[in-house]
Symmetry: C2
Subunit: 710 residues, 2 copies
């Protein structure tokens, strides 16, 4: 059907016909023809419905809202018209490129707000919009309900008969004849009754009541509503608002980062893809479903950094994997010491067989000996002496890294080549990319490359590794990154955590910013972990795993409780794997110096509880002790809620009251069994305050399944 829109009305005006002077006009005072031409009239002046404030939307449709397959999109809009007439509205959605809109009737929620839900069932780009119209049948019906005067009811019945007859003309199949029959019946009865004399008033009163009842029948209303008159419908926009639908792992994922070169069981040997493959059962046993590897490419030799980031490498130093490129190749090649491309593909396959996806690090920068530097000198900035400009942040210099110049006149070729890096690894079976420092490359490039890759492979996901200013991180999420790192690592006290995760779950980014919370990374050993007790590693892991539907750790240092910084107050690890090979020995769930078994428990709880698969329902609860943080999430599909309580002090025992809202948790009657999934203990809890004691040396957290009524 044609879809005139409000904005369309503005764009394609039609010249109005000139009209003779209206009656009543005094020729003496009619103003002279104005110097400006008569203003243009809109295309469709009879369209009286108004649609305003369609939500969700990101910057008025400039960017896409994000959902995953099977996740509901709840849309609201303000819909109304002039006067007392009734409006109807429909939510319309379709996959980009597909023909017809699917439609769902919107419901009035009061205060002119209307809502409906759709649940896109496939990955890719979708569009949604709202259509509304003044519904003459419903307007007529709403007025008829309130009519009491006999003559008025009979007139109204005849008006209604005509509306039903018109609906019949629009209808198809059986509806058409049924509506036509009802219209004729209504018309003839109303006309017949209208001919009655005053003497026949009593019997006519009964007949009028019967006609009114027939006209108001629910059957007729349902029939007529199926064939509305939408000639004067308005559309929020013709093209609709954009929606990106990803697979579920975009919203709910559990990441493990490790350096392949440290994966050898024997001390002193450079780890390989085969060693990583041997570690897969361990990673799977811990419950991770994404295994993220730092760059696996040839590492530059020129100006290579030594251990602990010293300026000059010693013989045998392996360098930083982020100094990409050497004689052996660049971003599409593997470091020979790790193995072959065949080994890599075998690793991908073996991981997938265990339910683990491999995520690769994409760091668009070059070591001085990267082949690009010779092949495409114009992709890099030059210094006056003709040398290539290295990365710097004066007075700091990073002479081992050449950044791409995104202002190069050859930008089109460079963009296409960089995209081909993604294409290359996608061809090897990779579907998740962790992008290194995207905020130091042009935003327009990311928007294009993510859109281009996802157009061909809608299942590809991108994690933005940007730990920078809020507006910048939000822009990256808006322009297309599937997930984003967060400030979680630096949010440690209760107030900080509550404020930040409240914002992430319910703030302006809720429809496009998908947080991925990490208690550590190879770059960030937060001071709270410096020489911290086992319990702080457990507490921070529980926070990340339950506050955020996606989270990750950098292991084995995390599960092995590594907390020694390179110097006091630094966030860099001592003997960081970024610059050297580390030996972690045999890794098992039950090593006494490891919390791997605990991690396995937490990740199993996450998998089994749909409440933890999204952040949309996050709600914090008051506690009487600032070292106790408490919050819950509900399963949007109606399953059990999960309450988490963490002792964030993690050194000393903390006790206090946690004030829960039982009704919000879905509990009938106010009391319930609080079953701690970490310890398998059960407590009798109730609406309001519940006493909690968390002894760090035993277990610094409760992760509580809310079980029915106590």
């Amino acid at each position: 059907m044609p879809m005139p829109t409000e904005s369309q009305a503005d764009k394609k005006p039609r010249r109005a016909r000139a009209k003779p002077a209206a009656p009543g006009a005094d020729p003496a005072v009619v103003p002279p023809a104005p110097a400006v031409p008569l203003p243009d009239l809109p295309q469709q002046g009879q369209a009286r419905a108004v649609i305003d404030a369609v939500l969700p939307q990101v910057d008025a449709g400039r960017f896409a809202v994000k959902r995953v397959v099977g996740e509901a999109l709840d849309v609201t809009a303000h819909v109304f018209t002039d006067g007392h007439d009734k409006v109807r509205a429909r939510l319309c959605w379709r996959k980009e490129g597909s023909g017809a809109w699917q439609e769902a009737e919107m419901q009035a929620e009061g205060n002119d707000v209307w809502s409906a839900r759709c649940t896109p069932d496939a990955q890719g780009r979708w569009r949604y919009t709202v259509c509304a119209w003044v519904d003459h049948f419903q307007s007529w019906r709403a007025e008829l309900v309130r009519r009491v005067d006999l003559a008025d009811i009979l007139i109204a019945a005849r008006v209604g008969a005509e509306l039903v007859r018109q609906a019949a003309e629009r209808a198809e199949g059986e509806d058409r004849s049924r509506l036509a029959g009802l219209a004729e019946n209504l018309r003839s009865r109303a006309e017949q009754a209208g001919r009655a004399t005053i003497a026949e008033m009593d019997s006519v009163s009964q007949e009028v009541a019967s006609i009114k009842a027939a006209a108001l029948s629910e059957d007729l209303a349902a029939l007529a509503d199926r064939w509305p008159d939408r000639r004067h419908a308005v559309w929020w926009s013709e093209e609709g608002l954009p929606l990106v639908v990803d697979r579920e792992r975009a919203a709910f994922s559990t990441w493990y980062e490790m350096f392949p070169r440290s994966a050898a069981l024997e001390e002193g040997r450079h780890g390989t893809f085969k060693d990583v493959q041997a570690r897969l059962p361990y990673v799977a046993a811990m419950g991770f479903d994404v295994l993220y590897l730092p760059p696996i490419h040839p590492i530059g030799r020129a100006r290579r950094k030594g251990r602990n980031n010293t300026l000059v490498a010693q013989e045998g130093d392996v360098g930083s994997p982020w100094a990409i490129g050497a004689d052996e190749g660049g971003h599409k090649d593997v470091l020979p010491a790790l193995g072959t491309m065949d080994d890599f593909r075998e690793l991908v396959r073996a991981a997938n067989a265990l339910g683990i996806e491999l995520a690769l690090d994409i760091a668009f920068q070059c070591a001085p000996d990267h082949p690009y530097v010779k092949a495409h000198p114009d992709w890099f900035r030059k210094r006056p002496d003709g040398s290539v400009q290295y990365a710097e942040n004066p007075p700091k210099k990073y002479q081992d890294i050449y950044p791409f110049d995104f202002e190069t006149p050859d930008w089109q070729a460079m963009w296409l080549e960089l995209k081909s890096v993604f294409d290359h690894w996608i061809a090897q079976g990779v579907r998740i990319f962790r992008v290194d420092n995207p905020h130091t490359k042009a935003f327009a490039f990311w928007e294009w490359v993510i859109g281009a890759v996802k157009a061909e492979h809608p299942d590809v996901l991108f994690l933005a590794e940007a730990f920078t200013r809020p507006k910048v991180m939000h822009r990256l999420a808006k322009l297309g990154f599937s997930q984003s790192y967060t400030y979680f690592t630096w949010r440690n006290n209760r107030h900080e955590l509550m404020e930040y995760f409240e914002e992430l779950a319910h703030g302006p980014g809720k429809d496009y910013y998908r947080p991925n919370a990490w208690p550590n990374t190879p770059d960030i050993l937060n001071e709270h972990l410096h020489h911290g007790p086992r319990s702080i590693f457990m507490a921070r892991l529980v926070l990340a795993a339950t506050l955020s539907a996606s989270y990750g750790i950098y292991g084995p240092p995390y599960e092995l409780l590594q907390g020694e910084p390179v110097k006091p107050g630094s966030e860099e690890y001592m003997d960081s794997e970024k610059y050297q090979i580390r030996h972690w020995g045999e890794l098992t769930l039950d090593r006494p110096d490891s919390i791997a078994g605990f991690i396995a428990t937490v990740n199993r709880i996450r998998k089994e509880h749909a409440a933890l698969h999204s952040n949309a329902t996050l709600r914090f609860f008051d506690t009487s002790n600032p070292y106790l943080i408490a919050y819950a999430k509900r399963d949007p599909a109606g399953g059990e809620a999960v309450i988490t309580v963490v002792n964030i002090d993690a050194t000393f025992t903390q006790t206090g009251w946690v004030h829960v809202d039982a009704a919000w948790l879905g509990v009938q009657g106010g009391s319930f069994v609080a079953h701690d999934l970490l310890t398998d203990q059960s407590f009798a809890w109730q609406d309001g305050g519940n006493f909690v004691m968390l002894v760090p040396s035993q277990m610094p957290a409760h992760v509580i399944e809310v079980r029915g009524n106590a």
Copy 2:
């Protein structure tokens, strides 16, 4: 200059060149050419600046922001780029139809928020947008500040010399030669110093420091900043966001409504325009600058309503002025009993001479005997019996009113005719229209007609008389009404008033919804005024006059303390002027049964204090007594602040503490003279709590001028 925009980049993609395989690519694993074509590249991939969240804006530019001439428009935007480079941004604005943008450099406010101000100096439609670019000169300069290595400084000086040389090429006039000279000087000194030997280190150190100082000179920076390289600038939007600039009365106006037919001095005579003219000095003495008259057109005789809205008029009943149209004419004619069109024009002139503008009521509806009904039967809906559909809201019927059918197929002719009603009265000198129940006519019509009228007459103002649901009232304000009635009449306790005016001043409508607060109208005699004491009329007037920059009263009933409803609990006046002529006698400022003198004082205070000319600075203060409401407004131009304290009980004496924020009020040192402009008393006030006692029988309010330091 060309203005590529972000959205433009999306719309006009360019096909990328195919490129040979990049070095390092392993031919064996290069993916096959994808089935989907290569994605389109944007137009201007080298543009790296990002502009986000330009504010203010109304629905992403779908509707205009409103200001008055001389009122500042403060614009903020998020502006940033990738990496460490410096960005610059400019606010750009221009009158619609004019050629070049005016520009103002935006300032960084922190957190990537930038701001600038413009102050449009003429009525009409304007546009504004934001332009930003990565500034290589400023980036270079910011890095140079932090450089310490001698060789680095000399390299940087040569880089800078080249940037300054390029600026010289863009520059004009004297700037061009100055920049060229500075560039050459920098280049030659840096090259010379770079040739020094290690033996000359000491003297070179001094020279390098001197070169660095010269490169960083403020003079050079100011010069270079004037000639930025904007080849890769981005624009928020090419067309800009819309801004409607009105004359000052759109924001600050003082309204008096009266029925001309009750203006006769002698009892029993039908008032005339000449009688109204005789009342002008009284209205002017009270300080009103808008005199609003209910419809002045011929009044229908068919189904005319009688006194107190009785269904059947008696002989001599004058009918409701809103039942427009009779044999004598319609919306472009005057009721003969009021006088002639010449009398009307004379009234307009006389009012203007006293600083008063006449506002006319535009009620687009017809009495059954309006000439339109015969001339344009297709502009009205028909009932099945062929009669014209009267207004109704079942079971209520308004058989004296025929509404226009905005779905008529002849809508174009009808819209043009209705517009010509405005044109007609504009030709008589009218520039303000109070539009009756706009929410019962099509919204698209209002948007068109207001835009069309203002395109020819930007000084015309429209007040929307819609007392309806919030979303509807907001839509009318968005689509173009200059002012809007409010819920003030029904906001009586402190909490209600604070919540509502907080929303009006600082809520989502602050840039388009200009409130006009009325303590009464001919339709609304709020129950708080029923038989109320003199003090409640005074208190409600002070609230309206100080909370809202525009306010009005329906007089003479208001100043004459009329509070008798037609029946208990009704909001209708007893013996309402809507249906009959009333006799008010001689009106003076000092009549003992009138608060006209008090009103004159309040309106004089309003005129003399710029703080009361806007709502943008409204701030409520805490009080210790819920019957005391306190708030202040500041003069945006730095004049005195005005504090208002009202006893809203208005029957009993109320005492309590008012907690003011002296610094916010512009007071140095914490204490100040609180000069009550109503009573001419002065009090010593201070930051924090101040004791207040308001005795209703004397004066139910303070309107306090904050006078310097005590």
